[in-house]
C-alpha cells in the first residue's frame, strides 16, 4: 500500500474516497502517531511549503491541530485572522480566495459556515485544499481521526457496530463519519430525536433509531455529537434537561451497549447535556482525548499526501475567471 498513489488533489469530503484512499491516510497517520510520541517531532517533508489556515468560523482545536500538524512537517504556517480581515470589510469570498491564491500557498485549510463554500473556493485556487468543516456538510479530517482512533483500539473496523448519537441534522461530523465508517465496513447507527434526524437518513447506509437504549444495543463504539445551545430553545428540542434525559449518554444508557464499549466525542463537550462527566472522563472507555491526539497525526498524513500530489504551480492564471 505504501506505493499507492492517492489520486485526489484536494480533500473536500469523505464522499468520493474509496477504502484504499482512506486506509492509505490511516496508515500514514499511524506512522505520525509514533513520530508525535517521540521527543523530536519533526519531519521535514513540507519544508519550504506554505500552509494557510483560513477559518471563517471560530475554532480552537481544529485550527490548532492543523497549525501543529503543518509546523511538525516543516511547513511555513500562516493562520489568517478572518474575524478582523477584509472579509469583514465586505470582500467577497471569491475575491479573498483569489487574493490568497496570488500569495501562492501550497496548502489551504479552510473552514466555512456554509455548506459547499470550501468546494467553491477549491475551484478558484491552484493549491491543494483541505476542508476543515463546511457548514453542515462534511468534516473529513474529523472522520479520519475518528477512524484512526477506533482502528488503533480495536484493529479492524469492519463489522463493528458504531452508534452516532445526538444532533445528526446539523452535524458535518456525522455526515463524514457515516461515509467513512461505511466504506470501512462498519454497521453504523444514528440515534436522535426525529427533529434532529435528517430526512432520508435511512438511505445513508445507517440504521436510524429514536430510542437510545434500543439503538445502543450491541454497539462497540458510541460517538456523541455536540448539541448547539441554540437548538435547545424549543425549536428542535424543548430543553437541555429533556435532551439529557432521553439522549444524553449516562451510565445507564451506556450499559445497553456492549460491555467495554468505547465512547467518543468530537468536542467541545456540553457536560450534562449530551454526555455525563463520569463517562467523558472514564479512564478506559473514553477515547475523547485520544481523538485529539489522533487529530494531529491524521492531519499530518493528509497534508503530506496532498502536498506530494500537488502539480508544479506555474505562474498564476492571468485574468482567471472570478
Amino acid at each position: 500500500m505504501a506505493d499507492y498513489a492517492f489520486p485526489h488533489r484536494h480533500l473536500l469530503g469523505i464522499e468520493g474516497l474509496n477504502r484504499l484512499d482512506i486506509e492509505t491516510l490511516l496508515e500514514l497517520g499511524d506512522r505520525y502517531v509514533e513520530l508525535n510520541r517521540s521527543r523530536v517531532k519533526h519531519a521535514n517533508v513540507l519544508a519550504g511549503q506554505t500552509l494557510v489556515n483560513l477559518f471563517f468560523e471560530n475554532s480552537t482545536r481544529t485550527q490548532g491541530s492543523f497549525e501543529i500538524a503543518g509546523r511538525r512537517l516543516g511547513a511555513d504556517v500562516v493562520t489568517m485572522p478572518i474575524a478582523t480581515s477584509s472579509v469583514k470589510k465586505g470582500e467577497t469570498l471569491i475575491d479573498t480566495a483569489m487574493t490568497l491564491n496570488a500569495m501562492r500557498p501550497d496548502l489551504l485549510v479552510i473552514r466555512h459556515g456554509s455548506s459547499g463554500a470550501v468546494k467553491l473556493l477549491s475551484r478558484k485556487v491552484d493549491c491543494a485544499v483541505v476542508n476543515a468543516g463546511d457548514g453542515t456538510h462534511e468534516h473529513p479530517t474529523q472522520a479520519l481521526l475518528d477512524a484512526l482512533t477506533i482502528r488503533r483500539r480495536v484493529g479492524d473496523i469492519s463489522g463493528m457496530k458504531i452508534a452516532i448519537c445526538g444532533d445528526i441534522l446539523h452535524s458535518r461530523v456525522a455526515r463524514s463519519n457515516v461515509a467513512c465508517l461505511n466504506v470501512l465496513g462498519a454497521e453504523v447507527r444514528l440515534i436522535a430525536p426525529r427533529t434532529l434526524t435528517p430526512p432520508g437518513a435511512a438511505e445513508w447506509g445507517a440504521k436510524v433509531f429514536t430510542d437510545m437504549r434500543e439503538g445502543l444495543k450491541g454497539c462497540d463504539v458510541v460517538m456523541m455529537l455536540r448539541l448547539q445551545q441554540e437548538r435547545m430553545d424549543g425549536a428542535y428540542l424543548p430543553s437541555a434537561r429533556e435532551f439529557f434525559h432521553f439522549w444524553g449518554l449516562d451510565e445507564e444508557k451506556l450499559s445497553h451497549a456492549n460491555p467495554g464499549a468505547f465512547v467518543m466525542h468530537p468536542g467541545p463537550m456540553n457536560r450534562g447535556v449530551e454526555i455525563e462527566s463520569g463517562i467523558a472522563d472514564h479512564k478506559t472507555r473514553s477515547l475523547i482525548t485520544e481523538q485529539v491526539e489522533m487529530g494531529v497525526a491524521i492531519r499530518m498524513a493528509v497534508l503530506e499526501t496532498l502536498a506530494k500530489n500537488a502539480p508544479e504551480i506555474g505562474a498564476p492564471k492571468a485574468g482567471a475567471k472570478r
Binding site: R194, T195, G234, A235, P238, E242, F246
Partner: protein, 428 residues
C-alpha cells in the same frame, strides 16, 4: 371494594366486541371478572343489582374537557366537573391544557393527576400543552410530560399558526409515539366571529367563521402528519368536507383520527336563532348538510371520538351581547343523552353511537377501560336509552350552567354510574 357485585337482567352494550344482548356482569376488586349473556338472576354475588332490562355500557370516555382548575375555579373545578361527569355517565375525561397556568410542564400535569385523584369522582387524565404557554412558538418537554402521565398533546383552543413550529413539534412528538391533537382553525379567518359564516349570520348581522378556516388548517395538519409520521387527532371537526379529508388521508396511510363535538351532531347554525350566547362555540354550529354528513360518519364508524367539548363559562361571560360573550358550552352531563337522542332521531345503531365515547377514545389512548371485558376496570353506566326528559340548566351539576341544551327535550338518561366498581352517581 370487598366482595362480588353482580349486575343482572341488563341490556349489555359493548361497542368493542359488538355485544348487544341481555345478560349480566360480575365485578370483583373494581374489575369486571365475568360477563354472562342471558343472566337474568344473580346467585352467588354479595351485592345483587337488578338492572330491570335497562342498558349497561362501558362508562363514557370524553377526550375534550375544560375545567377552571387551576386559575379559574369560579367556572368549574376538577371536583365539580367530576360530579357533572358522573351524572352524565362519563367515567374518564381528559382535561385540556388551556388553564392558568397552562399545563405545559411536568409539575402541572402531575398536579392535575394528584388533585383529580383526591377530589374527582371519576378518572381524570391531563393533556400536555404542545407548546410552552400555548404560545405556538416553543415546544414543551413532550418526552418528560408524557412520562408524567399526559394522555396526549394539544395546543387546545390556541391553534399553532406557524407551520414550521408545528412540523417540528409533530416530528419531535413522533419520537415518542405520542398522540398530537389539533383543532383545525385559521385564526386570521375566524378571529372575533360569533357563528358559522353564511346567509343566516349575515341576516343576523353577525360575523361568521367560514368553514375554510377549518379546511385550510386541517389540510395543513394532515400534510404535516403525513410527512412527520405523527399520530394526529383532528380535534372537533365540524364539516362534511373535513370528515372527507380525514377519511381520504386515512386511506392514504396517514395516522389520523378525528373527533366531533356532540353539539356538532345535534345542532345546526339555525339554533343560534335569537342570539343565544350559549350557542356561541368553537367550532360553530354549521349548516344542516354538515351535520347530516357527520351523523352519516357516526353510522359508518368514521368518527373515532365524540367529545363533550365541555367549556364552562360563568353567567358574567355569557349574559352579554353575543359578540362580546365568551365561547364555550358545558356538555359533560348531556353527552350521553345527546348521543342517545341522535341515535333515536337519526336512526343510528346504539353501538355505533356509543363506540366513539367508549372503545374509540380508549383505543386512541391505549386505555384498558371503555369496554365490557374480563379484566377491564368496572367503569360502567346504566341508562334508559329512550327515557324522555327536558334539560334545565339549573339542574346541571356543573358550576357553570352554559348549556345549549337548556330547555331542549332529550331522549335517554343516565340512571347509575360506577367507577372501578364503586357507585359514583345514582339517580334518585
Amino acid at each position: 371494594m370487598t366482595g362480588r357485585t353482580a349486575i343482572y337482567n341488563a341490556r349489555l352494550l359493548d361497542p368493542a366486541s359488538g355485544l348487544d344482548a341481555n345478560g349480566g356482569i360480575l365485578i370483583e376488586n373494581g374489575l369486571i371478572t365475568d360477563i354472562g349473556v342471558g343472566i337474568t338472576k344473580a346467585t352467588t354475588a354479595d351485592v345483587k343489582i337488578d338492572a330491570k332490562g335497562k342498558a349497561l355500557a362501558p362508562g363514557l370516555i370524553d377526550l375534550r374537557v375544560k375545567t377552571g382548575e387551576p386559575g379559574a375555579e369560579n367556572k368549574e373545578t376538577l371536583e365539580t366537573a367530576g360530579d357533572a361527569a358522573a351524572a352524565g355517565g362519563v367515567t374518564t375525561f381528559i382535561v385540556m391544557p388551556d388553564t392558568d397556568p397552562v399545563l405545559d410542564s411536568v409539575a402541572l400535569v402531575d398536579f392535575i393527576k394528584r388533585r383529580a385523584d383526591s377530589v374527582a369522582k371519576v378518572k381524570v387524565l391531563p393533556t400536555g400543552g404542545l407548546t410552552i404557554d400555548l404560545d405556538g412558538a416553543k415546544m414543551s418537554e413532550i418526552g418528560l410530560i408524557k412520562q408524567a402521565g399526559a394522555a396526549f398533546f394539544t395546543n387546545g383552543d390556541n391553534p399553532v399558526e406557524d407551520a414550521g413550529v408545528l412540523r417540528r413539534a409533530m416530528s419531535y412528538a413522533a419520537s415518542f409515539d405520542v398522540l398530537v391533537a389539533s383543532r383545525p382553525d385559521t385564526p386570521s379567518l375566524s378571529k372575533n366571529t360569533v357563528m358559522n359564516a353564511g346567509a343566516f349570520a349575515a341576516r343576523l348581522g353577525l360575523r361568521g367563521a367560514p368553514p375554510e378556516a377549518e379546511w385550510i388548517a386541517l389540510e395543513r395538519d394532515l400534510m404535516l402528519a403525513e410527512t412527520t409520521g405523527v399520530r394526529l387527532l383532528a380535534d372537533c371537526i365540524s364539516t362534511a368536507r373535513s370528515l372527507a379529508a380525514v377519511e381520504r388521508a386515512r386511506e392514504a396511510g396517514v395516522k389520523v383520527s378525528c373527533s366531533v363535538a356532540a353539539y356538532s351532531l345535534f345542532f345546526n347554525e339555525l339554533d343560534v336563532g335569537d342570539y343565544l350566547t350559549y350557542c356561541k362555540v368553537q367550532p360553530p354550529f354549521r349548516i344542516e348538510t354538515d351535520r347530516m354528513a357527520l351523523i352519516d360518519g357516526l353510522k359508518r364508524g368514521a368518527i373515532d371520538a365524540v367529545v363533550s367539548a365541555h367549556d364552562p363559562q360563568p353567567t358574567e361571560n355569557k349574559r352579554l351581547p353575543i359578540a362580546d360573550a365568551s365561547y364555550g358550552a358545558v356538555g359533560l352531563e348531556t353527552l350521553l343523552s345527546a348521543l342517545l337522542s341522535i341515535a333515536i332521531r337519526e336512526d343510528v345503531p346504539l353501538l355505533a353511537a356509543l363506540k366513539p365515547v367508549t372503545s374509540g377514545p380508549a383505543d386512541l389512548l391505549g386505555l384498558p377501560q371503555g369496554r365490557l371485558a374480563k379484566g377491564a376496570p368496572a367503569d360502567l353506566v346504566l341508562f334508559d336509552p329512550a327515557a324522555p326528559w327536558a334539560c334545565d340548566r339549573d339542574d346541571l351539576s356543573s358550576r357553570s350552567k352554559n348549556s345549549p341544551f337548556d330547555g331542549r327535550k332529550l331522549e335517554g338518561r343516565v340512571l347509575r354510574t360506577w367507577v372501578n366498581g364503586a357507585t359514583v352517581f345514582e339517580r334518585g
